[in-house]
Symmetry: C3
Subunit: 485 residues, 3 copies
């Protein structure tokens, strides 16, 4: 800790948030690199290539409708909406950081998905006959998934980092994700269709570890902008609802054709519905006068979708999904009420969006639910072929049994947490270097350092603020007088 | 009426809007009940069960793509967006009730769909071999439809009821809906793919009857919040457009595979386009200076989709759809201009969103259009097999003829109206009990009683507004001085 | 030019923006005409007709899932969202023109799609056996595409024209579009799946030419409303993101079943991702302090989707898509920085939304990319059948070779530009007639002339503001007195 401490002091130099050189440089150089790497490595797969017509004949596929495009494209578009509108607008709740929320989300997602196609391609879909990665609609979905991990991490550091830092966070985040995913899905042979472990647990702890490394001790004293206004909360509900509605597509997007996609959608739909009710219950119960808190409605209502991610394709049963959602609504809302303040005060983790409550904890719960469901699987419930299909007990794993599969699932959780925490500390160290153009504490949660703002919204020079402040104080005092009468 | 009068007086006690105990209690208890009932009754159907792979072989289904999931899932997601974003944001037009509009819509929809799966399951998809309800993607769509009826009713009482009342409204609404739907579709054998009768007529009159029972005579004197502001009208357009765009999916979601879904989408698309033009025409013509009224653009443009609901799957012909849309745009807009004020003044029905003009009237028109179209059906237009398929003249109804079918359709309208009005009066009686935490007239259309609001938006008592105003003037002046320096 | 000048003077009479008679008249008359023409000409095609069931048997189609509806409906819905939410909200960036942006976009799209079904039907899908136009889901997509051309043109004149002018712009725009499309696609046999030439180049120059004809020399002096406010920029991002996310569906909506749709979606996805990074780079590099400009993020990020439109269905290769997106982000952003001010100052073209940078230039680039890609096509890359399928070298064009196809593609660009510029000048002449109810310069970019605004948002002339302020004080005081009584 002494080492970390001295490193922190070394980094605490005056901030310069001008990114005029660094941001364009990073964007242009990295995009050029993407073009070169795509040129060397990436080609269409057999279903998106013009040779599909010949491929169809040799494989005796009777109709164009059996192209994987028609199985997955509607789900892909839903996932795409979640990534760009869902995550983007969910983070617009701050009163003066909507441009940054939507805009930087847009930037890092657009970069991340290209890098993800490469990283995931090298691990999962490299064609050894010609050394090329072959991409199709499933690759696009996986790239969006991969990006989701980094966007989750963005939630923890929202308003406190520069766009250049976010690009670095994304570059490393995607890289770590691809490795972690390869270990969990291919080496350990855990199943994780909706990414409870691979996406949410990893992304959550990755972001929290980075936020811990970038701890700003004096942030609270200058946090006049760390809160919402009425209409920014309504904007955030756009994000919430698109995430909530399309989560069944998220969890079913890459599951098996047929019953797999069907079942995953049903389970997620039910878990999410259940979460809404318990979130409302806890939010009302723990607030003065029973009033609801928009923070809970915007975030905790989604926890059920996270927690059912791994088990969505299993025979979790409709009531099982409801139970998972029930618990997660309670856990997540209590997390916002008790855990987030605790973590900020005692653990030096500032979590702007509360990703610990929305992604990290529900992700771990989802991993556990998945492990239990897998361990409890039996031929009597799944049918012989159903069991093999669902858990992919084929090839190297054809001797696998459900109980052992449960163990492998549990191992997956540990890998995800380790990669998240370890990777986050490592990347956090890099991001502490005073070269990335992040802002001083006073300018956190403010779009002004990185965006040309419309005239009427330019931040008010400090000299006026004092006046305003004094007058407002008078107003408050006079209000107070009136209220006492 | 004397009885009603005395009941009203009995109920007019001072209001206490604290729902800290009642709301959590209702949410937790009902959600627990859902889990138990789902555990006892609900299972996956054969297309979402792992036994699908065996089912495919026995039924000789050649490909996974013929799983009902791929026929209906894209439409389902569109319907889902309509329910949560469409209805939710359509109601955000009030200047200070956006949290309630989106948030309570979210809450009751999430509860309603669970209860709907049970209620509709018992009536429509109970498997008598094992006493279980088998659900698949079509069940999810039907549950969303069922919820739509209650959300329509919410529109009439928007801003005047507590979340607990809304939960009660939904519980009874779903129950009534399922019974009414069973009578109309199964017993009477009326066809109603887009729910003109089953959803819109029922939901509309259900809400209006409740609003009549909950009449607040002094509401107008305290309605400083009953209106929109500029940006709340823009938020409401998000709801309008998502409803408008996805209505073709709504009306085609549960129609027959193949030409049925195809035709329903085309008809709805055309009817809605036509409605927009006549809505604009009437809105401009009846306003001073020819200015357009946002209320009409937000609502009446959707009336064509409602009115084409029943007949969308029939051979209504493209020009028929245009005619239906043409008429509904006019009727609905005139309704907003003349009928809504009339109903409030003389019939004691306060209809916040004007659901009578958007759902009730167009729903009845839709029922009539459906009856006429059905009665006029002939083999020369439909083809022999087409006629049987479209109107489902099979099983018990294989001797049905189009003219009689028209009569059955008309009977369906009557059932929907009766259930709506009767059910609404009954539920309205219950909701008048002074135990549900609804607000006093002064606090109607205000998020403050049920939501933690951001600081700068706390409602300011009228007495303070003057003070603020005077100080603000000083601030403006002092700012002006500073700027001159 | 003398002629144009005198015509301009003739038209410069005092403005009367009351559209109380003209707007309703145009809407009702044209909608009635639509009903009559649809009655005479338009019928369901064989896949949306009840005879589908017989058609299936005769054509030996094994399953309902092969109905074109299931190939194209998800893409159709995405395109529909782009037209109504995408274009509508993209234009809400002005501080006081959001009603007009969303509302008039809604109006002209709803009219345009009906007229497009007729115009495109006459040219492309007239069934000569019975003289009827047969429509299906592909017709709906094409109608939406056709409308897109007019909505692009609306972007150039946003805030400066009356709704009646927009209806005229749309009527002629759709007509010209259908002719131009027929020439380019059918006569010249150019391929243009995503409409780089047919939609964007045409629509862009059509709008610019109209804007040139309607030049308002004194606009800048009264343009206090020509700018954004914070939350209007956030609303505009809703439009941007839905356009960006669903552009893969736009470019793949009417391509060949199977690999064609699959490949078009992948190419568009990649081009758009690449554009985001270069847009951010250029925006930051050319602004003081490296701050990002929302105008660029809202618009230039979409240029890659435009520019990949023609070639999306070809074997452009993933890296090819990235390169196209890379260049377009740079060109489009530089266009906003240098070209738009230049065109306004020296060429008398006022381009409110910068459609030249978002549609016209990238459209031309897209045409060129398409021509090059087509000319470079070879059997070794495409395969023999793939080449024939992709470029439709069948029927009259079965002797076509790739190099000649490249020439045909280039010819298509010229036709699109000519139709755009020529048509725009012609329609601009008509729109200069002083009978359409457009506003004076002072009232440009203001919703007030055409919309009933909520009370607190009525536009206040600057001179009155102080007076109003004083009066409001009196009003408040008098209210206060009243309330005390």
């Amino acid at each position: 800790m002494g080492c970390v401490q001295s490193f922190r002091e070394f980094c605490d130099r005056p901030k310069n948030s001008n990114v005029r050189l660094s941001l364009p440089a990073v964007c242009i150089v990295w995009q050029t690199a993407m073009i070169i790497l795509f040129g060397v490595f990436i080609r269409y797969d057999e279903e998106s290539d013009t040779h599909w017509i010949e491929h169809r004949k040799t494989k005796n596929i009777s109709s164009d409708i059996e192209n994987d495009f028609y199985f997955r494209y509607p789900s892909f578009q839903d996932v795409h909406v979640m990534i760009f509108v869902g995550f983007g607008f969910l983070m617009t709740f701050l009163k003066r950081y909507s441009f940054g929320a939507v805009g930087f989300n847009f930037l890092i997602a657009a970069f991340g998905l290209q890098w993800a196609l490469l990283m995931q391609g090298w691990f999962h879909s490299l064609d050894y006959s010609d050394g090329k990665i072959k991409i199709g609609v499933e690759s696009l979905i996986n790239a969006d998934f991969c990006v989701a991990g980094c966007l989750i991490a963005y939630g923890a550091v929202l308003g406190k980092v520069s766009p250049v830092q976010l690009m670095v966070l994304t570059l490393f985040g995607i890289t770590l994700f691809a490795v972690e995913e390869y270990i969990i899905l291919s080496l350990i042979h855990a199943r994780d269709a909706g990414g409870s472990m691979v996406i949410h647990t990893f992304g959550g702890y990755y972001g929290l570890a980075i936020s811990w490394m970038l701890y700003r001790p004096n942030l609270n004293q200058s946090s006049r902008l760390q809160g919402s206004v009425y209409h920014s909360d309504v904007f955030a509900m756009i994000g919430t609802l698109f995430l909530w509605m399309f989560w069944p597509s998220f969890n079913s997007a890459i599951t098996d054709h047929g019953d797999g996609q069907h079942r995953a959608a049903i389970n997620t739909y039910l878990a999410l519905a259940s979460t809404v009710l318990t979130t409302v219950a806890v939010s009302s119960l723990f607030q003065k006068h029973g009033k609801l808190d928009m923070v809970h409605i915007q975030n905790s209502t989604l926890a059920g979708g996270v927690a059912v991610g791994t088990a969505a394709e299993f025979m979790l049963m409709p009531y099982g999904s409801l139970i998972v959602g029930f618990c997660c609504g309670i856990v997540s809302t209590l997390g916002y009420i008790y855990l987030t303040p605790f973590m900020e005060k005692y653990m030096k983790i500032q979590d702007t969006c509360g990703i610990h409550n929305l992604h990290a904890m529900p992700g771990v719960i989802g991993g556990i639910v998945g492990a239990i469901t897998a361990a409890a699987a039996s031929e009597s419930v799944y049918g012989r072929e159903g069991l093999i299909n669902t858990y992919d007990f084929e090839g190297d794993f054809k001797d696998m049994v459900p109980t052992r599969q449960g163990g492998h699932q549990a191992a997956g959780i540990c890998v995800a947490i380790c990669f998240g925490v370890g990777g986050g500390i490592f990347v956090g160290c890099i991001l502490r270097l005073p070269i990335w153009g992040d802002v001083a504490d006073d300018n956190c949660f403010d779009d002004e350092p990185y965006w040309e703002l419309p005239e009427d919204e330019e931040s008010i020079p400090p000299i006026l603020e004092y006046n305003n402040h004094m007058r407002n104080k008078d107003i408050v005092e006079s209000n107070f007088t009136v209220e006492q009468n």
